[in-house]
Symmetry: C2
Subunit: 211 residues, 2 copies
């Protein structure tokens, strides 16, 4: 990892994929250099913020011409972990779980879901997008066997803590929690909460308050 095990502030990590996306678009258009000012204009933020954010990485610009587009893309993808394959297990092959199994985008951004787990007999033994669905009882020993550090939780919220406990017990080091439940895990376990439905509440509020 280019970030050398250093914690990067979350607001910086939230902006970086937008920088990457913008510069990749320029790359497709055949552009060779981009200035921090141009990135800042695209983002609607100050250019000093852009240079400060990028100082976390090994990206460096040249006076007058700016950042070299190809190396910007390569270094930033590497820094964000999108170039590496991070294997994961997913627990909860319901509607959202199966949706994630079918999203090829995750693989492009470094997440490879190796196997999925569920307790529903109708699902166990089937495959979604070529990923095998196993009974949750079989999670035992699997993270170590397959060298998997990441667990994705897409079960109903009331089962999320139980699944998190199982994952931690079997060696998962980082949990991507798609449920609105707040998980209690040991301090050395990384948790990232992503409740896309929360974003809906924010969108509805913006929409209805502007009506």
């Amino acid at each position: 990892m280019a970030n050398k095990g250093k914690i990067v502030p979350v607001p910086v990590l939230r902006r970086m994929p937008a920088y990457l996306s913008f510069v990749k678009t320029l790359q497709k258009q055949g552009e060779k250099y981009v200035s921090s000012t141009r990135i800042a204009e695209y983002m609607g933020i100050d250019a000093t913020q852009v240079t400060k954010d990028l100082s976390h990485t090994s990206i460096s610009g040249k006076t007058r011409v700016g950042y070299e587009v190809d190396s910007f893309v390569e270094v930033l993808e590497d820094f964000l972990g999108f170039n590496k394959v991070n294997n994961a297990f997913l627990v909860g092959a319901g509607s959202l779980g199966c949706a994630l199994l079918q999203d090829e985008g995750l693989r492009n951004f470094g997440l490879n879901i190796l196997k999925a787990f569920d307790v529903d007999p109708a699902k166990v033994g089937t495959r979604v997008n070529d990923v095998e669905i196993l009974h949750l009882d079989r999670l035992q020993g699997m993270p170590a066997k397959y060298n998997v550090a990441i667990g994705v939780i897409t079960v109903p919220a009331e089962c999320a803590q139980e699944v998190a406990d199982l994952m931690v017990g079997w060696g998962i080091k980082a949990i991507w929690n798609f449920t609105p439940a707040r998980l209690k895990v040991p301090g050395n376990i990384a948790v990232q909460n992503t409740t896309i439905y929360t974003n809906l509440a924010i969108l509805f509020n913006k929409l209805h308050s502007s009506e």
Copy 2:
């Protein structure tokens, strides 16, 4: 809408679905009352924060017993807009777009994707989870005809601005942007950016910095 068109701070809206999830779990367990202290302990925050957040809603607790669970769930779901059907169009029936079309959870949280649009001849005319995929050219006039205010963007990032412009031109009032692109839209248009891959970057950073 119970929130009566008032803008609610985003951090409050981010916590509320977790409150709702917790109280719904208690409801399933047959509990009748919940105190702000208990919600606060679950969340790992201060009880005064919980009461302050809930003061945005019409939820009121009783001294000693706390909030009545059934009415808490009903009022909060209504407040967050999850009880109402909000029709939407989705543009970009690729991997992520089709994943969203297959996620029944969105409907449970108030978002009903009526139709999807794409430019790929192989996709146009097909259906995903019973949602028809139309050519993007047909978006014209559709938001007004179907009274649709919300547009979901799941196209490649470099096409996102173009799609946003079309949506705004045809009467969309709120955009749920799943791409890392930053959209430029008129001030009266609500935009919510949800880049799930950004959450991956944050998760990878937490994981690798703790290794």
